[in-house]
């Protein structure tokens, strides 16, 4: 537990203080929303497109942070010093994943808030009050986003360690991450569309199950394989 907390604290320190990657993610998402909100003709914009923009921006923003979280391990071979201490790979996997999850969850809350400000006004009922928006829409988006984030962080850490010893690790990480994150992208955006249409929970629960299965698969794969994969 002491080692878990040590790695967790170091990761958060690097994500927020040490590097600008998490802030780059914030700026990138706001930039993307601004671009689409003000340049796309109004008749081309519907709620489905707006939700796709939300998820597209989020997954790309996540990739920035995940790339950063591996970059500082590779840069000066810092991961080797971690390995020399005898720290178990699965402890590193879990603590790095949870730290990234905390950072990306904050990113999701931020992105979601900005998205509601930029796009909410165009699609929400005119008489919707802030409590109604928060309960009926925001909370559902928040829950599915948090669940998706957990899956994305497990996947990202696993993909990063798979790419670790490759000469083309940055490209390999992109190649591994995007196709493997498609289920999250599809399930997350489908859930949000249904939530916007005020669908029943029973209609949406399948998508939540899919996200839960996704995160369990990658969490289990990471715990089982990380020790083996980060050996040289």
């Amino acid at each position: 537990m002491r080692i878990f907390y040590n790695v967790f604290k170091k990761e958060l320190n690097l994500l927020f203080k040490g590097t600008g990657f998490i802030w780059l993610s914030f700026v990138f998402s706001v930039g993307l929303f601004t671009l689409f909100r003000f340049t796309l003709p109004a008749h081309n914009m519907n709620i489905e497109t707006a939700i796709s923009i939300l998820w597209g921006a989020y997954v790309i923003s996540c990739l920035f942070s995940l790339l950063a979280a591996q970059e500082w391990e590779w840069e000066w071979f810092a991961y080797r010093a971690v390995r020399l201490s005898g720290t178990a790979g699965h402890t590193v996997f879990l603590s790095k994943s949870i730290a990234t999850f905390v950072a990306l969850s904050l990113l999701w809350i931020f992105i979601l808030t900005v998205w509601f400000v930029f796009f909410g006004g165009s699609f929400l009922p005119a008489d919707a009050s802030i409590p109604v928006i928060l309960i009926k829409y925001f909370s559902k988006f928040l829950v599915v986003g948090i669940l998706a984030t957990l899956g994305i962080t497990f996947l990202g850490q696993l993909a990063a360690v798979l790419a670790l010893h490759s000469r083309f690790r940055h490209i390999l990480l992109l190649i591994l991450f995007f196709p493997m994150s498609l289920p999250v992208l599809i399930a997350g955006s489908s859930f949000c569309r249904l939530a916007w249409q005020e669908a029943e929970w029973s209609e949406m629960s399948g998508l939540l199950n899919l996200l839960a299965a996704f995160l369990f698969i990658y969490a289990a794969a990471g715990i089982a394989l990380y020790d083996y994969l980060w050996e040289e």
């Binding site: 080692i3 590097t19 840069e75 000066w76 810092a78 080797r80 971690v82 020399l84 201490s85 005898g86």
Partner: protein, 247 residues
């Protein structure tokens, strides 16, 4: 410089206890064997220099012994340690690669890496090692602002703070200025820092300054083309002959 004595390492080792043994070790990269059929033993109170030309496989052998690399063939036994975890707790590798997080400060880096190790008086050890290496005034500076020599001093600070008893040294003098080299030389010559009760039980050193390696070590393993060609002692090999063997 404030000093605090620590309990040191109480491993209960006998004077000539076997610490590590390895048989037929092999490691290949891209179908080329970097090390092949390497066998040997490292005993308590043995201070070894691993000598050979560039590309001979010295670093690979060190990485195999520290378990940084997984061997493609052969085995390593850590006979002198109760468990693998015990070995990890007692050993350290001081390398010419700095192995730090560039965007953390010197102090944050030391704190992080030492907290991965068991039962150390971290705060006191870090303070002492930063004082010892002359880095106290830059402890809050990020590592990516350090010069090559300062980074190596920071590696030395981590090494001193960890106080390992089984030491692997891969060109550890690289980048150090004369004062830094003298600092490390004295630690290795003294086999630790006596005033801290820190005793190095054994080391295995890779250094291209053969004269220095000869002065510091008592055993010499000569490596060529990935195999251990010859093992000899200081008694059996004069410095002049050692040079002849290597140049």
């Amino acid at each position: 410089m404030s000093l605090k004595k620590t309990s040191g390492k109480k491993i209960g080792a006998k004077t000539h206890e076997k610490l590590i043994s390895f048989q037929n070790l092999g490691k290949q990269f891209d179908y080329r064997w970097a090390v092949r059929k390497a066998s040997g033993e490292i005993m308590n109170n043995e201070y070894i220099s691993l000598l050979g030309p560039n590309g001979a496989g010295k670093t690979t052998l060190l990485h195999l012994l520290t378990r940084l690399y997984k061997a493609h063939e052969g085995i390593v036994n850590y006979d002198g340690f109760k468990s693998l975890q015990h070995f990890y707790g007692e050993m350290d590798l001081l390398s010419h690669h700095s192995m730090f997080y560039p965007r953390l400060s010197a102090e944050e880096n030391l704190n992080f890496f030492l907290r991965l190790r068991p039962d150390r008086e971290i705060h006191e050890n870090i303070k002492y090692s930063l004082d010892y290496t002359g880095l106290t005034h830059v402890k809050r500076k990020k590592a990516d602002g350090f010069s090559r020599g300062m980074l190596q001093r920071l590696s030395l600070a981590r090494f001193i703070a960890a106080r390992p008893s089984m030491v692997f040294l891969d060109e550890p003098f690289t980048g150090l200025d004369l004062a830094g080299q003298r600092m490390l030389y004295n630690i290795l010559k003294e086999r630790g820092i006596p005033e801290l009760n820190w005793k190095i039980k054994s080391f295995i050193l890779v250094d291209h300054d053969y004269k220095r390696a000869y002065e510091l070590s008592e055993l010499f393993w000569l490596v060529s083309k990935g195999t251990l060609q010859k093992k000899t002692t200081k008694k059996d090999l004069s410095y002049a002959n050692l040079e002849k063997n290597l140049i």
